[in-house]
Amino acid sequence: MSRILDVDNLRISFPDGGSGRVYPVDGVSFALERGKTLALVGESGCGKSLTSLALLRLVPAPGRIEEGSRIRLGDTDVLGLKGESLRRIRGRRIGMVFQDPMTSLNPVFTVGDQIAEGVRAHFDVSRSEARRRALTLLQEVGIPDPAARLDAYPHQLSGGMRQRVMIAIALSAEPEILVADEPTTALDVTVQAQILEVLDRLRDTHGMAVLLITHDLGIVAGRADRVAVMYAGQIVEEAPTDELFDRPSHPYTQGLFASVPRITGPIERLSPIGGSVPPPGAWPGGCRFRPRCPKAFDKSETMPPLLPVGPDHRMRCWLAEPSEGGDGPLRFAQGDNPSAQGDNP
């Protein structure tokens, strides 16, 4: 069995400013497997980053993970951990790479010191051994002239090199799981290609499970094994990557695809989703995509569960039921999405 992490019904709440609470992550479930990449895709505010922080119990106060949520890492109940045992999970078993490497690196220590610190935090090794491992890690993430770069400070490196250093620090503990939260969003496209290649190679050589958090469907294709699309705190569609790209079925997923400009194929007017994502306190009852959905119907006023639409492919939409509309999941080509209005609230 290669499943190493199970997230079940994860709910994260924040105070709403009054006496109630809002749930920016509301019932998210997924599993990670050794040597595989799961992509969590969605737009700003969909809850994808908070979900990833919850795996390390890093949800910022006053947010909290609600009762009934479960995160299991092998035999360990992550949500039951305290103190030292929690610290041993962070970094050691689940490593993390964030979007902006400059804010995660300490400007006054050399790159070599920071990687070696990571090594020594998790393994009982000498300083010289830690430094030797730091050198190997820099090589592994593809930094040219790694021996010289050990003594460089973060500001002396380019954005792409800093992100490689962050990956080296995450790898220093030899984690089973690597969470990469928009790891290339701040980088130029040619640098992005380099970093994604490093992540793929490390996943394959170390057999790590990767949770890739991204807004970019482009970097998911040809990389992730499985995709979960999030909207308004919930997974609205999930499938193996090729299946999802072949048959995007949830109207939101279809809208995302119709919004992305392409580098090949005919140039057509884009068909964006109308409106914008409402904030957590303002989600409608029933299907949360309903007010923006071109296919909403009376049943949408009841919240749909994740329903099967194909082999290993589920979506949170009543249209998945063959009795609704007759033909099960609808496909529409790019440009077929009813034209969007402005994003007035």
Binding site: T190, L217, F245, F257, V260, L270, S276, G342, D343
Partner: protein, 333 residues
């Protein structure tokens, strides 16, 4: 006759500040020339630090040029005095990547849009309010929003406000500096469609500055690719994407992630980092990272000039034989 002609534009920034006056200047823009015709979009595309934003800002004289000329609607932009420059700004506007930082948080949206109308005396009294309402409507916002403040709006709405403010003075030309880069994909598509509609309805010309070739393809029929301060290739967008002639364009294009597993193309992973624009390489700026099988001593010493090869103009000594990504990867083993 083009609306805007830029010739041999150079912009250097003095580096190092007060105590290092002898440091090498940052050579942000080196010898850049292009034309923009009335009602057309020219895209200026490149990665961080290539100088594309400096070009846009220098043309508008938000920064002073180091050398070169720019002619707009018959006037020499770089010799205008302050009064003439202010008059000219009514004809050329700019929208930014982050509209929030360009909107005064303590000014209502209506007041921000009205500012230009009042400064240039395009309307007075009740007409100002009517114009503001019409502009909000034109960019897809409720005219009733005029009394609200910028923080009450989403990123996409703020970008629409930024566009309305630029339109308020009835320009013929707008520099769009990464206007959709900070937006989510669904909102990005809305703003791209809006820019296309405004161009059609008002005959606007755009200099569209971007890093995303897929976005550029959507909005611009002509494109110029910049690398380390220079235009390395330019031409009709479709031709340039179909058969890029500069190796940098080949690499940039191959790195664009395609949201389709069936259309994964071979990707050229460039070696090394972008060199510092304060110490650019001699000869061809791309030569230290180039993968062209014919690159040689000439590339190290002689700056290649833009010349027509096939359907585009490329600044490569060996543009005739530039490999496709497939060929480049096969050649490197």
């Amino acid at each position: 006759m083009s609306l805007l002609q830029v010739r041999n534009l150079v912009k250097h920034y003095r580096a190092g500040g007060l105590f290092r006056a002898d440091a090498h200047p940052v050579r942000a823009v080196e010898d850049v020339s292009f034309d923009v015709a009335k009602g057309e979009t020219l895209a200026l595309v490149g990665e961080s630090g290539c100088g594309k934003s400096s070009v846009g800002r220098t043309i508008l004289r938000l920064q002073e040029p180091t050398a070169g000329t720019a002619t707009f609607e018959g006037s020499d932009l770089f010799t205008l005095d302050r009064v003439a420059l202010r008059r000219m700004r009514r004809r050329m506007q700019i929208i930014f990547q982050d509209p929030y930082s360009s909107l005064n948080p303590r000014m209502t949206v209506g007041a921000a849009i009205a500012e230009g109308i009042e400064i240039h005396r395009l309307a007075s009294g009740k007409d100002v309010g009517r114009r503001v309402g019409a502009l909000l409507e034109e960019v897809g916002l409720d005219p009733g929003y005029a009394g609200r403040y910028p923080h009450e709006f989403s990123g996409g709405q703020r970008q629409r406000i930024g566009i309305a403010r630029a339109l308020a003075v009835q320009p013929s030309f707008i520099v769009c500096d990464e206007p959709v880069s900070a937006l989510d994909v669904s909102v990005q598509a809305q703003v791209l469609n809006l820019l296309a509609d405004l161009q059609r309805d008002r005959g606007l010309a755009y200099l569209f500055i971007a890093h995303d070739l897929a976005v550029v393809r959507q909005i611009a029929r002509r494109v110029a690719v910049m690398y380390l301060g220079r235009i390395v290739e330019e031409g009709p967008t479709e031709d340039l994407l179909r058969r890029p002639r500069h190796p940098y364009t080949v690499a940039l294009l191959s790195a664009v992630p395609e949201p389709d597993p069936a259309r994964q193309r071979p990707r050229i992973v460039l070696k090394g980092d972008l060199p510092s624009p304060s110490r650019p390489p001699t000869g061809c700026p791309f030569h230290p990272r180039c993968f062209h099988p014919r690159r040689d001593q000439r590339c190290r010493v002689e700056v290649p000039l833009l010349r027509t090869v096939g359907a585009t103009r490329a600044a490569c000594h060996y543009a005739e034989t530039t490999p496709s990504p497939e060929e480049a990867i096969a050649a490197s083993g």
